[in-house]
Amino acid sequence: MSRIYVDKYLGRLERADIYRVRLIMRDGSVFENLEPRRLFPFSNTSMYITLLDKNEKEVGFIRNLDELDEQSVKVLEECFAEYYMIPQITAILAISEKFGSLKWTVETDRGVITFRIMNRQSDVKRMHGTNRILFRDSNDNRYEIRDYTALDAASQRKLFPFL
């Protein structure tokens, strides 16, 4: 089965609803309600995007956002903003430990939130060789710090044991 690599010469995207798009091909064929997903949601957010249909079968494939027209890129980014909720932690307000689990209160780009980390080892992960830290809380929600060195000094101090 050959993969359809979508680029601006082949087709364009329109917003279908909150997280789905419509793929309109140059030849006039239209694919409704495709769900765009990042194949590298952590390591590369602007490349390798797949378009899935209702049964999660791949319909189209975008190698690089650069290869799309401006409008389609905007559509995708809007969809992703809704689909991927990985709050970016901008400051660490408090970390307290009680009986093995950690209670974090942090400021994110989506507001202040308190969450619990069950396992300090496996649920707070620094990506090897980078300044990026990924969190997974007790409810399986995700959080992220892109670059911990960019945080204020107090937050960095609180983060020290987790690096």
């Binding site: 609803d17 909150i18 997280y19 949601p41 809704e82 689909y83 991927y84 909720m85 990985i86 709050p87 009680k98 009986f99 093995g100 689990s101 209670k103 994110t108 989506r110 507001g111 202040v112 939130i113 619990r116 069950m118 300090r120 080892q121 090897h128 060789g129 809380d137 007790s138 409810n139 399986d140 929600n141 995700r142 020290f160 044991p161 987790f162 690096l163």
Partner: protein
């Protein structure tokens, strides 16, 4: 104010009033899902309010409400799980889609229940009351999860062990100390005596210097020397006895905890092992229990002893000279404060060092067992580079910590030594003053000498208490890890004692839904009936949920929705031991224990006769290869030379299942990893075994299922086809396609083989 509706979070007075104001008298709000994000996915308090005929969303901070969505206008409500958040959406009758609610995974289960509630009412499947009951059950389940840490509780409403305070934790430890109370008291008394004895020698030194030596009293010198020898011998003898008693008591404690943890580990639900690696559990049983033992002895013994020492020395010193005593106490606050600062500084380093060194270990455990892969892909250089960078990171942080670790004792020791020099200087001046004046001053030479010995003894208990909380924390971490096991609720055995069900009876899956965590449903709406004596083949691609289906039937997981019944009884209401002992389970890669073949087949049950075991081995086609072993049934598996091949192990495990004469049989890809000839032998063994028994077989190779009278095709967590092989072949669906593909590849393989042998 009384809450008249179900809610998953405690609401304050204002929020409660706000919701009650929105509630209509003739169609009141029956439940509320309190979420934590707004419709724009920002954090905030948003709540989904549901009545018997409509639902709407309300922002509890602004009071804004969405329009009401009547169930009558809805075609279907469903939840779309996105990444880190989910959407509840409604397909409306007029073809449009409406966003109902946005949520994080914290309330995903409630949102799923809401969707089912709405759909059931709308379709008229159930009455609103019945549907509400189902929702209430989900709320109950939420409550049985600690709202603060998300941990499952043993029963709804009990305090969460995870959020419990440490005082209670200590109380739990006391339980292990209690049987040793007698020994501990004797040992404390002994140690008080030795402490008192230890305080005597400096006092005698004073007499020696001031009285005996200047006055040349040989008789007294003899007596004092003998007294000193006696004191020292008694002191060390008592110390030895005490040490031995403590060791014995300590061993009893550690043995008790170890056995209890091990016993508990046997009864932990599979869910626990999914989350915690077996290595971690092993560590807790062996390592953490030892830490705990030494800590408990330390707390009960050393604290008392050191306290007496501290008080004793201060009293003795004060009685000798209060001025010098105060002088020698000067460095104490500095030491106490210093050690506090030190601990605060070093703690983050410890955590970090621990992280880094465990990264090193995990690189090791990842790569060394996989050495074949590394070699075959010539990836040695990369592996080394990766390991080096891990080691480097560890070295860097450990070296940094080394600075603090070594600076602290250096500073403290310097202070203490300087302190004693000050006493020499000050006390010495007083002594010289008195000698010059030729009077008997308040301080004599002997007193100064013995005082200095006391002062140096004094810092031992000070240091001990300054570092006490450090070792306490260390032990607390161990305790936590152990209690983590001890307090996990074991596999529920609600039906203990209920041994009446016929396990060979009809098996029914009724609306079974299951997910390991809360993010993805692994099984969706499974409905399946298996008649007694049926041979059921379960086919499907890897990851489709076949094994999970079996896991539920074996009761490895109990937290599914819906019901599985055997002979009309919910399997969760049957005595666990009774239930499992009537099921024969043959795994894909059977586990063999380091023991004789005979014991591996009997596996812990002495009630079988040798004849029975040989018979079972014979039926399982295992006897023939066992007789070829030089040591026969006595061959110890895993020892030099005696490694069984995959197919042989499989046949031993079939013999194991065979022996117990189970009423239900479960094969999880029993022939997946063996060659066709061995497969034939195993197949034959299986056929001996299944006669007349209800059998479930997971199989990749459809040839294994030749005897099956019923085929279940699982795909993506759902049963997509179910029927006799003939029916499914006629249907030309998924099963038909699978058969086509396999027979084609079989033909290819056969023709290749034919070519080779030509």
């Amino acid at each position: 104010m009384e809450t008249s509706f179900l809610t998953n979070k405690k609401l304050d007075e204002k929020q409660l009033r706000m919701i009650l104001d929105l509630s209509e008298h003739d169609d009141p709000i029956v439940f509320a899902v309190v979420g934590d994000i707004s419709e724009t996915a920002h954090y905030g308090c948003s709540v989904l309010l549901v009545t018997r005929s409509y639902l709407f969303r309300c922002n509890l901070e602004t009071g804004e409400c969405s329009e009401k969505t009547a169930f009558a206008d809805v075609e279907k409500v469903y939840n779309k799980r996105m990444y880190g958040n989910g959407l509840m959406r409604a397909e409306m009758r007029d073809g449009s889609t409406r966003e109902l609610f946005r949520f994080t995974f914290a309330v995903a289960a409630l949102c799923d229940a809401t969707a089912t509630y709405v759909n059931d009412i709308q379709k008229g499947n159930t009455s609103p009351e019945e549907a509400l009951e189902a929702v209430a059950a989900t709320y109950q389940k939420q409550l049985s999860i600690c709202p603060r840490c998300g941990r499952t509780l043993s029963a709804p409403g009990v305090p969460c062990i995870n959020c419990m305070n440490k005082g209670k934790l200590l109380k739990k430890l006391v339980k292990y100390l209690k049987p040793q109370t007698g020994v501990l008291i004797i040992s404390v008394i002994l140690s008080i005596i030795t402490t008192a004895l230890a305080l005597a020698p400096p006092r005698l030194t004073q007499t020696l210097v001031d009285d005996i030596l200047p006055n040349q009293r040989r008789d007294l010198l003899m007596i004092v020397s003998l007294a000193l020898v006696g004191i020292h011998i008694t002191r060390f003898a008592l110390g030895g006895i005490r040490g031995y008693m403590l060791r014995v008591a300590g061993n009893k404690i550690v043995a008790a905890i170890r056995c209890e943890v091990y016993e508990k580990a046997q009864h932990l639900p599979m869910r626990f092992y999914d989350k915690t690696s077996t290595g971690a559990v092993i560590n807790r049983i062996s390592g953490d229990t030892a830490t705990l033992q030494s800590f408990m002895l330390r707390i009960t013994q050393e604290v008392v002893v050191q306290f007496f020492k501290l008080v004793g020395i201060i009293i003795v010193m004060l009685s000798m000279n209060w001025k010098l005593t105060l002088l020698s106490l000067c460095p104490v606050p500095i030491i106490v404060i210093g050690s506090r600062i030190f601990r605060k500084k070093i703690a983050p380093f410890y955590h970090r060092i621990w992280r880094r060194s465990s990264a090193v270990t995990s690189t090791l455990t990842d790569t060394i067992p996989g050495i074949r892969v590394i070699k075959s892909f010539t990836n040695e250089k990369n592996a080394v580079k990766r390991f080096e960078s891990c080691v480097d990171e560890w070295r860097e942080i450990d070296s940094k910590a080394g600075k603090i670790l070594n600076a602290y004792p250096a500073i403290i020791n310097a202070l203490i030594t300087c302190g004693s020099v000050i006493i020499w200087a000050m006390g010495g001046t007083l002594v010289i003053d008195a000698l010059e004046a030729n009077t008997v001053g308040e301080i004599s030479v002997g007193l100064l000498v013995s005082f200095i010995s006391y002062a140096s003894m004094f810092y031992e208990p000070v240091n001990f208490f300054a570092n006490l909380s450090d070792s306490t924390q260390h032990a607390m971490a161990s305790t936590e890890r152990i209690m983590d096991i001890l307090d996990v609720e074991p596999e529920h055995d609600f039906g203990k004692g209920n041994k009446s069900a016929n396990i060979g009876g009809r098996i029914e899956f009724k609306n079974v839904n299951f997910s390991f965590d809360r993010t993805k449903k692994v099984l969706k709406n499974i409905n399946l009936t298996i008649e007694p004596g049926d041979i059921v083949g379960i086919v499907g691609t890897t990851g489709s949920g076949k094994s999970t289906l079996i896991n539920l039937l074996l009761r490895y997981y109990d937290h599914y929705d819906g019901q599985i019944t055997v002979d009309g009884v919910d399997i969760r209401d049957i005595d666990m031991e009774y239930y499992r002992s009537h099921i024969g389970y043959v795994q894909q890669e059977p586990m063999m224990f380091h023991d004789t073949i005979y014991n591996n087949i009997a596996y812990g049950d002495d009630s079988f006769s040798v004849d029975e075991i040989i018979n079972a081995a014979d039926i399982a086609n295992a006897h023939e290869f066992i007789v070829r072993q030089p040591d026969g049934y006595d061959s110890v598996l895993g020892e030099r030379g005696v490694g069984l091949s995959g197919g042989e192990r499989q046949r031993v495990s079939i013999a194991r299942a065979m022996l117990r004469n189970p009423q239900m049989l479960v094969f999880d890809e029993a022939t997946a990893s063996v060659d066709s000839e061995t497969e034939h032998l195993i197949q034959e063994a299986i056929e001996h075994l299944i006669s007349g028994r209800t059998t479930l077989m997971i199989a990749h190779r459809l040839s294994t299922l030749s005897k099956a009278n019923k085929i279940v095709v699982v795909d993506n967590g759902q049963i997509i086809e179910c029927g006799t092989p003939q029916e499914l072949m006629e249907k030309k669906g998924k099963y038909y396609r699978l058969v086509q593909i396999q027979s084609m590849s079989d033909k290819v393989a056969e023709s290749r083989r034919a070519e080779k042998f030509d």
